[in-house]
Every structure is written in structure tokens, then in C-alpha cells.
């Protein structure tokens, strides 16, 4: 039993090593390979896959700069930032409002906030397809008011993807933010008030700084899955406006360019790592804990 220290951890280490760490090393190798004749890859060291992110090869073999994939990477980062920011802006007031309620109401409201999260992700994204779609709920509602006759399509644009992602990931923001507001000592707010701080000054100078760790934890939980989003760009972006997630997926599906897909996956992973390092490892660990 003394050796439980060793074999208790063994299954977890073996699982993660075989299905995660080794495969990621293989991805790195594939990203430096050339594509095989029938899909797959052949290992010959080359940086072609990374060059393809930036350059097009012309007819005569000359390279010309092609910003197409940079746009996709930029759009992904921008949409993930916007989603994170919107989630913060929506989650903070709601979480704050919930902490003001009585104990019983608090439990019920917290449950109500997380309840939609239990419903399958694909069903929730599908709901937005019906709402935003042609002849969808929004278009019908606007037509009833008589203000508009025919709307340009609300689907298949950046806004539709943003709406879907905010809706998908907001519970991940609310829970850590709620936990940090709940720990806030009300006496501090009263003290600020006694010192003639207005409600807004109190919010800006007392409440927000004290709840910042919760907001950062929530931002990590929302930002990382947003960078790798696949469902939202495929369904709400119509598969034409790409994000990195579905660009990678396409390379392993129809396009059959594994080295290019692997290089984009490595870029995605580096983006995530840079983001996590910027936030510091402590905040990351905290985010993981809040999630439980």
C-alpha cells in the first residue's frame, strides 16, 4: 500500500502520456512534414506547412504574400476577445445581482444560470440558427412591427458567430465571477459609502478590483475554448467565414492537407500558451479550481 503513491498516479500519467503528450509531439513532427500522395503525411523535414500560412506559391514557384490565413487567425483572436469581453459585461452584473438575493433564491438562481449549460451544445447553437435564420424569429418579429419588409440575412457573419459563442460560454464566466463576488465583504462597500463614495466610485474603486481574480479566471475559461471553436463557425458562420478551429478541421477532412492542419494547430496551441502565460500560472490554476 505504501507504493500507492506510485501506482495510484500511474494510470493518469499513462493515459495523458499516450493520448495527449506523445500525440502532440507527433503533431509537431507532422507540421514539419510534406503531405502524402493520398492524404496523411510523409516525414521529410521542411517548413513548407508554416510557409503556406503566409505565402502562396505561384505558377513558377515564386512566393507571393497571401494574408488570407492571417485574416482567419486575426478573426479568431478578435472574436475570442469580443466574446470574453461581452461575457464579462453580462456576467458581472448578473452574478452581482444574484449575490444580493436571499440564500434560497441564490441557490435557485445559480442553478437557473447553469441549467442551459446542461443542454447539449449543438442544440443551443441550433437554436440560434432558427432565431437568426431566414424567416427566423427575429426577422418575423421585426416584420410584425411593420418597420422592415425583408432583412438582409442575419446568419453567416461575424455577428452571428459572436452571438452563438457568448450564449454558449457565458456560464463558464458567471460561476467564477459569482464565487469572487460572494467572498466580497459587504462592510467594505458600506465603508466606501460612509466615506462619501458614490455607487459608481464604489463599483470602480472597490468592487471591481476585489473581484478581478474571478473575472480573470472566467476569462481563461471562456477565451481558450473560443479560440478553438468549431461548431459556431461551421453552423452560424456557414462554413464560409472561417475560424482556426474549422480551418484545422477542414485540413483533416475534405482538404486532406495534414501538415498544414498540424501547423495551424501548433499556432493555435502557441496562442493559448501565450495567453495563459500572460495571465500567469496562478490565475490559470485558480480558473481550473473554480470550474469544479
Amino acid at each position: 500500500m505504501r507504493d500507492f503513491r506510485f501506482w495510484g498516479l500511474l494510470p493518469a500519467h499513462v493515459l495523458m502520456a499516450l493520448t495527449l503528450i506523445v500525440p502532440i509531439l507527433i503533431i509537431v513532427a507532422v507540421s514539419f512534414s510534406t503531405r502524402g500522395a493520398y492524404g496523411g503525411f510523409e516525414f521529410t523535414f521542411t517548413t513548407d506547412a508554416y510557409r503556406q500560412i503566409l505565402f502562396n506559391e505561384g505558377w513558377t514557384g515564386e512566393l507571393e504574400f497571401n494574408p488570407q490565413y492571417l485574416y482567419i487567425i486575426g478573426r479568431t483572436v478578435l472574436l475570442a476577445c469580443c466574446t470574453t469581453f461581452l461575457c464579462m459585461a453580462l456576467a458581472f452584473p448578473i452574478a452581482y445581482w444574484i449575490t444580493l438575493q436571499g440564500h434560497k433564491a441564490r441557490v435557485i438562481l445559480l442553478f437557473a444560470v447553469t441549467l442551459p449549460f446542461w443542454v447539449s451544445m449543438i442544440v443551443r447553437v441550433y437554436a440560434w440558427l432558427i432565431i437568426l435564420g431566414n424567416d427566423g424569429v427575429i426577422e418575423k418579429g421585426l416584420r410584425l412591427t411593420g418597420l422592415v419588409d425583408d432583412l438582409p440575412s442575419l446568419l453567416f457573419n461575424n455577428g452571428a458567430m459572436l452571438a452563438g459563442m457568448v450564449y454558449s460560454y457565458i456560464p463558464l464566466m458567471i460561476l467564477p465571477v459569482f464565487a469572487s463576488i460572494e467572498k466580497l465583504d459587504p462592510a467594505l462597500i458600506e465603508a466606501s459609502h460612509d466615506l462619501h463614495g458614490s455607487r459608481w466610485v464604489t463599483l470602480r474603486r472597490i468592487i471591481l478590483p476585489l473581484c478581478w481574480p474571478g473575472l480573470v479566471a472566467g476569462a481563461i475559461l471562456v477565451f481558450v475554448p473560443c479560440l478553438g471553436a468549431v461548431l459556431e463557425p461551421v453552423l452560424l458562420g456557414g462554413g464560409k467565414i472561417l475560424m482556426m478551429g474549422n480551418l484545422i478541421q477542414m485540413q483533416f477532412g475534405g482538404a486532406r492537407n495534414w501538415p498544414f492542419g498540424a501547423s495551424i494547430a501548433i499556432v493555435l496551441m502557441c496562442l493559448v500558451m501565450v495567453f495563459l502565460l500572460l495571465n500567469g500560472l496562478r490565475a490559470t490554476r485558480k480558473a481550473m479550481e473554480e470550474m469544479a
Binding site: 500507492f4 495510484g8 493520448t19 503533431i27 452584473p93 449543438i122 455607487r199 479560440l227 495534414w258 493559448v272
Partner: protein, 268 residues
């Protein structure tokens, strides 16, 4: 203290909350509403009908997908929870464990990696070693990304627990295994249950990995629904979605009920 003078309250917050909850639940309500539409087109309402539910329940492909999803989720939950429980016992309770921080990070690794990267990783791995059983591929991949979700609630429960009872049990000449089975496990049961529940839901909900590995004939429910959506929105799709919503809400309510009896939600 009256509400008006309470300095913690902000004007307009309640109104904002009402709008927020409408926004949160409206999409789900819309899906349910249109599932009763008799017309073949989702958004053209022509009358009330339950025929799409009959069609959904009669759909053999759908039922196969449900069975595949349930089986994979069950296998992944059992393995992920067992692996996570063992790891948590060592990492929280073990004395003098070397590389504790590193081990903990490794167990939680799937949480900080975008799932698309993980799915590409296992896809290449399985294709390299020529492993072709679609069902087993999914079960293994799901176990990997469910493990941290099972790990965190169990660890949280273990951390919040004193060693007293286990020491008492040892004083009463119980061996380690008996102590674990009769004392530790019952005490951390709510955490284990929460972890298993989370793992099960995460596995059932997974789309990215299941779709990426969907070549060996194992189609899960989300992947099947994705295929239907690609063919166009129909009220049958809404009926299927409504059934999924009802089952998920029932499971969520049950989980809350059991959690409520074993300790508060925020405990885990």
C-alpha cells in the same frame, strides 16, 4: 435596511436580470415551440402536431446514435472517474509525493488545450498505429478529456476533509483498504458523484472529437444531429432537440437533488 437605501444595490439591475434570463431561456423555448409545428418547414407555422415526435422516436439511426453516445459516455465516465479518484487520493493525501505540481498539471492538461488540438492529436496517433475500431477510439479519447472534469470535484472534496476519521479507523485496526472502502469513500462520495456526473455530461455533449474521429462507424448523438442540421432545419430536428433538452434538464435536476442531500453545490 430598506432596498432603496441599501448601498449595495444598483438601479436597473433587476430589470437587467429579467432581460438576461429571457435571453438565456428564449432560444430553448423557441426550439421547443417549433417542435410542435405541423409544417415541414420549421419557421412556417401551420398548426399543432405531435407527428414529429413520433417520427423521431421511430428513427432507427437516431436511436443507434443515442445508444453509441450512452455507451461511450458510460465507459469514459467509469474509466475517467477511477483514474481521477486514484490520482486525487495520491495528490491530496500522499505524503512526500515527488513532482506533485507537475503531476497535477498533467492530469489537468486537457482543460487548457483547445479540444480541436486534442482531437487532431488522437486522430494522427490512431492513424499512425493503424487502430481502426471507431468505438474504442472514441472511448479512449473521451476518457482523456473527461478525466480532469472528474478530477477537480474529487480533489476539492478531499481537500475540504479532515484526516480524523481515517486516523480513527486506523486506530481501530482497520487496514488501509477497509478504511478507504468504509470511511474515505463514503465521505468523498458527493465529490465522486459530482465528478462522474460532469464527466458523463461532457462526454455526451462532445462534438469536436467525436466528429473528427467519426470514420470507424461510431456516430454519436451530437455528430448525428450535426449531420441533420447540415441537411436543413426540420421540425423533426426540433422534436429531437426538445427530447434532448427534457432529458438534460431532468438529469440536471436529479443531480442537484442528490447534491443537495450530500452537501451544498458550492462545496464541490
Amino acid at each position: 435596511m430598506s432596498h432603496r437605501t441599501d448601498v449595495r444595490r444598483y438601479r436597473g439591475l433587476s430589470g437587467f436580470a429579467v432581460v438576461f434570463f429571457l435571453w438565456l431561456y428564449l432560444p430553448i423555448a423557441v426550439v421547443i415551440f417549433y417542435s410542435f409545428n405541423e409544417n415541414r418547414l420549421v419557421s412556417v407555422w401551420t398548426g399543432f402536431s405531435l407527428k414529429w415526435y413520433a417520427a423521431a422516436l421511430d428513427n432507427q439511426n437516431l436511436m443507434n446514435a443515442v445508444r453509441t453516445s450512452l455507451e461511450i459516455a458510460a465507459i469514459a465516465t467509469v474509466f475517467a472517474t477511477t483514474i481521477a479518484l486514484m490520482a486525487a487520493l495520491v495528490l491530496v493525501r500522499g505524503k512526500g509525493v515527488r513532482f506533485r505540481r507537475v503531476s497535477e498539471t498533467i492530469v489537468n492538461l486537457p482543460l487548457v488545450l483547445p479540444e480541436i488540438v486534442l482531437s487532431v492529436a488522437v486522430l494522427i496517433l490512431f492513424s499512425q498505429i493503424g487502430f481502426a475500431n471507431g468505438f474504442a477510439k472514441l472511448a479512449i479519447a473521451h476518457t482523456t478529456f473527461c478525466t480532469p472534469f472528474a478530477f477537480l470535484p474529487i480533489r476539492a472534496r478531499l481537500q475540504g476533509m479532515e484526516m480524523d476519521f481515517e486516523e480513527a479507523s486506523a486506530d481501530l485496526y482497520a487496514n488501509k483498504w477497509t478504511t478507504f472502502r468504509r470511511v474515505t469513500l463514503p465521505l468523498i462520495a458527493p465529490g465522486v458523484f459530482a465528478g462522474a456526473m460532469l464527466a458523463f455530461v461532457i462526454s455526451m455533449d462532445d462534438f469536436i472529437t467525436s466528429n473528427m474521429l467519426n470514420t470507424g462507424g461510431a456516430t454519436t448523438l451530437p455528430v448525428y444531429i450535426f449531420g441533420l442540421i447540415k441537411q436543413g432545419t426540420t421540425p423533426e430536428l426540433n422534436a429531437i432537440s426538445t427530447l434532448i433538452i427534457l432529458v438534460s434538464l431532468a438529469v440536471a435536476a436529479l443531480a442537484l437533488f442528490i447534491q443537495g442531500r450530500g452537501g451544498s453545490m458550492t462545496d464541490t
